[in-house]
């Protein structure tokens, strides 16, 4: 066999083994984070501080995006539904799209690029400037003190951010459909109330946001902790956080949707 083919096959094998090794390493890191989370709950102030950075500071981008997404949904929904004379159902369409899909997915994508990348960059830079090593030398476990509070802050803030996204989105849809176009106010809200089911729509949407919150934050803290301690390493880790968590959100969304809404009308 020509030498180049052998080298090629060896390279592929090497990459596969590396990826599996890294997946195992990431899973072990995730378990360690959960095991060492005690301090985050005993000293909840550590989590509250991170909630401010990951949650509160993400509010602006979530609210503005939610408003625009809702407005576009209102516009497109009206445009399509009025062809069938069903323009009063625009409220239903806006609410269901947001609560079931767009709220959790778009909010999680925005969260990954705003908060996830910030978490990775912060932990990566702490590693690059020896702060994590210094902490280890002070007999303080960085996974318990730095990683776990950031992880829990992300997991807690994600459902609230997605809920905020959906609420503002519905308001955006209302602004366009009712205030601008003139769809009937009463039917906009009443049809929405009739169609949106608490158990199937809202609870399932919340479950999705919780899963996305865990996935995005777990990826963000791992990439930061695993980053090479150089400027290039940290920038690469930040990019990987956004790319990997975006793909994870979209992949997980398909899996969850197919389990939750299979066979439903």
């Amino acid at each position: 066999m020509p030498r180049r083919i052998v080298i090629g096959i060896r390279g592929v094998g090497h990459r596969v083994i590396d990826s599996i090794w890294r997946l195992g390493y990431a899973s072990r890191f995730f378990l360690l984070t959960l095991l060492k989370s005690g301090i985050s709950f005993r000293r909840f102030g550590l989590v509250i501080r991170e909630l401010y950075f990951t949650g509160v500071l993400s509010l602006i981008i979530i609210i503005v995006s939610g408003l625009f997404v809702g407005m576009v949904l209102g516009l497109q929904g009206y445009e399509t539904l009025q062809r069938f004379g069903a323009e009063s159902a625009v409220g239903t369409m806006v609410a269901l799209s947001l609560v079931r899909e767009l709220g959790p997915v778009v909010a999680a994508l925005l969260f990954a690029s705003r908060a996830g990348s910030a978490i990775t960059a912060e932990i990566g830079l702490m590693k690059a400037t020896d702060q994590l090593a210094a902490m280890e030398m002070m007999a303080v476990d960085p996974i318990a003190r730095v990683v776990a509070p950031r992880f829990w802050a992300g997991v807690i803030s994600m459902p609230f951010l997605a809920a905020m996204f959906s609420v503002v989105g519905v308001f955006g849809g209302y602004l366009v459909a009712v205030v601008l176009i003139g769809v009937d106010d009463g039917s906009f809200w009443s049809q929405m109330q009739n169609a949106v089911d608490f158990r199937y729509d809202i609870v399932n949407g919340v479950i999705k946001t919780c899963v996305f919150g865990v996935a995005v934050t777990a990826i963000a803290v791992f990439e930061g902790y695993d980053a090479s301690p150089t400027a290039e390493g940290v920038s690469g880790a930040t990019t990987r956080t956004v790319v990997t968590s975006s793909l994870a959100i979209l992949g997980l969304d398909f899996v969850l949707t197919s389990v939750m809404f299979r066979g439903m009308s």
């Binding site: 830079l125 702490m126 400037t129 702060q131 090593a133 030398m137 002070m138 007999a139 303080v140």
Partner: protein, 270 residues
């Protein structure tokens, strides 16, 4: 190992994969002394500190601190031992999200149940010892390089350790800060009765303050002695290092193919 010995290193070998970093290193460090470990960049000095702190495991041999073999300790025992040792990193490694005060208070809050009023007093005393009580409200980003290193020094003596390791404490400092840090290392060591290990390649500054010097070259101890012995040494490596000569046992050129063959000037090409 006598009661005065705090750190004992025997037959220490360490390698990163195939690359051998330390080869059979032996050292003894007594309580209350300042010991310098010198050597060129990449000679294994920082690795030696990491081995003493238990951050990496030796390939063979051992490091004993206060009578205990570091690499045989369980994680809990290692963390217990680290409460008695401290490390000053090259650029301080202050926690950038905490103020100067919180940085110095960090270990007290993590490892003790001291009331906040006592922590405040202790932190101000530690900062006073390095002359920076006035900056306790500032963030690390607002400090100069020398000040950051002094705050890191205050942080490293927060719990009155037995042993402090300094990784290149003089790098990138102006002459005044250099003298200040050097004198602080000496003064704090004497005042607190601890042992200081200073990894450095700043010969002139460190010879002024240390009690004993080890030279490491290519993973082995090339020479050792008191500052007076080192200054008077005629050993080629020590002479080259202390006087900063360009060529000697440490060659100017990194090993490579012959110059002529790299430039393709051998027969057939010329």
């Amino acid at each position: 190992m006598t009661p005065e010995t705090l750190v004992e290193i025997k037959g220490l070998n360490f390698s990163y994969g195939e690359r051998s970093i330390l080869k059979g290193v032996n050292m003894t460090m007594s309580r209350g002394k300042v010991i310098a470990i010198m050597g060129g960049s990449g000679s294994g000095k920082t690795t030696l500190l990491r081995l003493i702190g238990g951050a990496v495991r030796p390939s063979s041999g051992y490091v004993k601190v206060a009578g205990k073999v570091v690499h045989e300790l369980k994680r809990d025992e290692l963390f217990e031992m680290r409460r008695k040792m401290s490390m000053l990193f090259q650029f301080g490694a202050l926690f950038t999200d905490l103020s100067v005060f919180d940085n110095v208070a960090f270990q007290m809050r993590e490892h003790t149940d001291l009331p906040e009023s006592m922590i405040r007093d202790l932190v101000l005393m530690k900062l006073q010892a390095v002359g920076l009580r006035g900056v306790h409200n500032l963030m690390p980003a607002q400090l100069s390089g020398g000040m950051a290193r002094r705050v890191a020094l205050a942080r490293s003596i927060a719990l009155d350790p037995l042993l402090i390791m300094y990784d290149e404490p003089f790098t990138g400092l102006d002459p005044i800060s250099l003298t200040v840090i050097g004198n602080l290392i000496r003064r704090l060591t004497d005042a607190l009765g601890m042992t200081s290990i200073v990894v450095t390649h700043d010969v002139q500054e460190s010879l002024k303050i240390v009690d004993y010097v080890y030279f490491i070259s290519e993973g082995v101890i090339a020479a050792h002695g008191t500052p007076a012995e080192v200054r008077g040494s005629v050993a080629p490596f020590v002479h080259q290092f202390v006087h900063g000569e360009e060529d000697g046992p440490v060659s100017f050129h990194y090993p490579a193919e012959t110059y002529a063959s790299d430039l393709k000037l051998e027969k057939g090409f010329a």
